[in-house]
Chain length 351, copies 2
Amino acid sequence: MWPKTDLTDLFGNEHPIIQAPMAGSTTVELVAAVSNAGGIGSMGYSKTSTEQIRDDVEKIRKLTDKPFNLNFFAHDTPVNKPDVIESTRERLKPFYSEVGLKEIPQNVSKPLLTFTEERLELLLEIKPLLVSFHFGLPGFDAIKSLKKAGSRILCSATTTAEAIALEQSGVDIVVAQGWEAGGHRGSFDVNHEDHGVGTLALVPQIVDAVKIPVVAAGGIADGRGIAAAFMLGACGVQMGTAFLSCPEVNVSDAHLEAIRISRDDDTRLTKAFSGRPARARQNNYIESMAAHRLPLPDFPTMYTLSDPLREASNDTLDYRFLLYGQAAALNREMPAAELVQTLVTEAQNLL
Amino acid sequence: MWPKTDLTDLFGNEHPIIQAPMAGSTTVELVAAVSNAGGIGSMGYSKTSTEQIRDDVEKIRKLTDKPFNLNFFAHDTPVNKPDVIESTRERLKPFYSEVGLKEIPQNVSKPLLTFTEERLELLLEIKPLLVSFHFGLPGFDAIKSLKKAGSRILCSATTTAEAIALEQSGVDIVVAQGWEAGGHRGSFDVNHEDHGVGTLALVPQIVDAVKIPVVAAGGIADGRGIAAAFMLGACGVQMGTAFLSCPEVNVSDAHLEAIRISRDDDTRLTKAFSGRPARARQNNYIESMAAHRLPLPDFPTMYTLSDPLREASNDTLDYRFLLYGQAAALNREMPAAELVQTLVTEAQNLL
C-alpha cells in the first residue's frame, strides 16, 4: 500500500504526495524542493504568460531532474453580462469608500486565463510528465495530444459524477477534492449551489466508481491524514495548505500569520473575490457579499472588481483573500524537503 | 489500535463502533442487535415520554445484557417569538396550499423535548452505562450526578472549541461530528452561520486538543471509513446512516428507497423542518426555504409548522425530511448484527 502505489509508478517518483498547485503562491523553488524530496511539486498557472511558464520550467529543470506537475484552470471563457457587472459595481461602492478608493473599474475585460492553444503548444513542446487541470478539462483533442506527447493527465473532481466524466474523457488520475480543501473548488459547473462532499465520504465513493487511480485532497495536514486517505482507497494525496508554511512559498506575512492563528472553522466558501467558490479565511467583505447572494461576474472577471480592494487594504484582513483549508491549524513551519520527509515518516509509522 | 482501544475499555464491549442514536428511526431491536454483536447500540430520544423510555430500557435489557447508550437532545428551551412564527406561517402558505391543507397551526406550543429533571431522575434510577448528548450538555449538576451513578458521558462536538468545552465540563468521550454526517448537526450555538468542518480535518484537530477519547462521526460508511478514522487518531466511530438500511430500523419505504438511489451530493443542511440545521435529502421545500434565509422558529418549535406538510405529502418526496449522510450510497442492506461483523472484518483487514 505504501510507499509502492500505482501512483508512484505513474509518477516515476518515490512518494505518492503531490504538493498542490496553488497558483500565485507556489514558486519554482518549492516545486523543485518537493520533487527533489521524492514527492511531486506542482506549479499552478492562472494568468501567467506562456513565456513565463517556459522560463519557470527551465528553472525547475535546472533545480531538479525529477518529475513535476504543471496545473491549469480549464474554466469556460467568462461571459460578461453588463447588468451583473453594473449591479456588482453598485454593491461594491461602500467597500471601495471604506478603503478610500473613488473609482470602481469600468472596464472588466481581462486576459483570458483559460487553457489556450498557445499553452497547449508549449506543453507539447516541453512535455512535462504530469499535467493537471482544475474546473474541468479542456477539449478532447488537447487531452489526446498531451497524452500522445507522453504527459499523464490529472484533474480534480468534487463529486463522483465528475470523476466518472473524467475517466470517460481519458484522464489518467483523478484528484478527489473534498469540502475541506483550501482555495478554489474544482467543481465543473458553478451555476448550481454546491453543498460540498467531505473528503472522507467522497474518496471511497469515487474509488468505487472509477478504475483509474484516485488521489485524495482536502483537509490532509499530516501523516494521519495521509494514512487515512490510503485507508479510504486513495493511492496518493494532494496537499496544499500544509505547504503554505514552507519558506519556499510566496505568501504574505499576513497570510502566514492568519494560518498561525487559524481555527478549524474560520474559513468559508466565497465567490466574492474571483467569481468562483474558493475556501478562504472569513472576513467582513466575504460575509457581507454572502448576505446578498446576487449573481457575480464570471470567474475570473470578478477579480477586476475585487483586486483594487485587496490592494488598497494592506493594513487589514477585511479585504484579504487568504486561501487555506480546514486543517491549517495543523501546519508546521519547515522547509518543503523536511516537510515531505516528515509526512512520509509519519504516514509510514501509521501504515 | 484495534480492536483493543480506550473506548472498548470505557464501553465494556468488544468493538469500538457506536450505532448513532437517530431519534425516531432507531428501535429497541436495533439497539439490542448492535450491542449483542459487540458494538454499542444507541436509542435516541426527542419527544419520547419518560415512561416510554423506561419501557424501552426494560425491553432492551431483556434482549441484551451488553452495554448500550441512551441519547438526549440538550438544546435550549425554545423562545417563541410571535413575529418569527407569524412570518414563517406566511412563508408556508403556498406549501400548505400545494398539499391541499387549509389551516396552518396557530398554536405552536410543544412539549419541551430538552433534557428535563424527570429524565435525569429516570437515568439515575436505571443507570445506563452510556449516556450521550447532542446540541451541547445539560447543567454541570446533571453531568456530575450521572457520572456519580456510574454512567459515562458522551457528547457531540462539531468544532475543536466545542470539544474543549466538553472536556472541561467533565465529558468522558467526545464524538467529533464532521460535516458529512446525516441528521442534526450537534453544534451548540445555531445563531451563527455554520461552515461545517469535514470529518477528516476535524478529528485530528480535536484529538490534539483534548485528552479524553475521541469518536469519529460523519461520512463513515464501511471498514475503509473506520480504518481512516483510526488513522486520524479516533479510538472509535459512530455510524448512523450505515444502519438505516438494516431491517431492524424504523424508516419509511420512501426513506429506504431514497438511500438506495442516493448520490454523494444530494443532501444539504436545512433548518426548514426542525428549526436546527440537519443534513437531509434535498427537495423543493428545502430549496425554497433556503432561498430566503429569514429566521425560523427555534428547535423544536418549527416541527409544529412543518409536520402537517410532511404528513399530507405521502406521495411525494418534496416535503419529506429524509435524513442521511454524504456516504449513504455505500449502504448495504443487511441485518444489524451482520453489518457490525462485516464492518469489523473490513476494518481489521485494513488495519
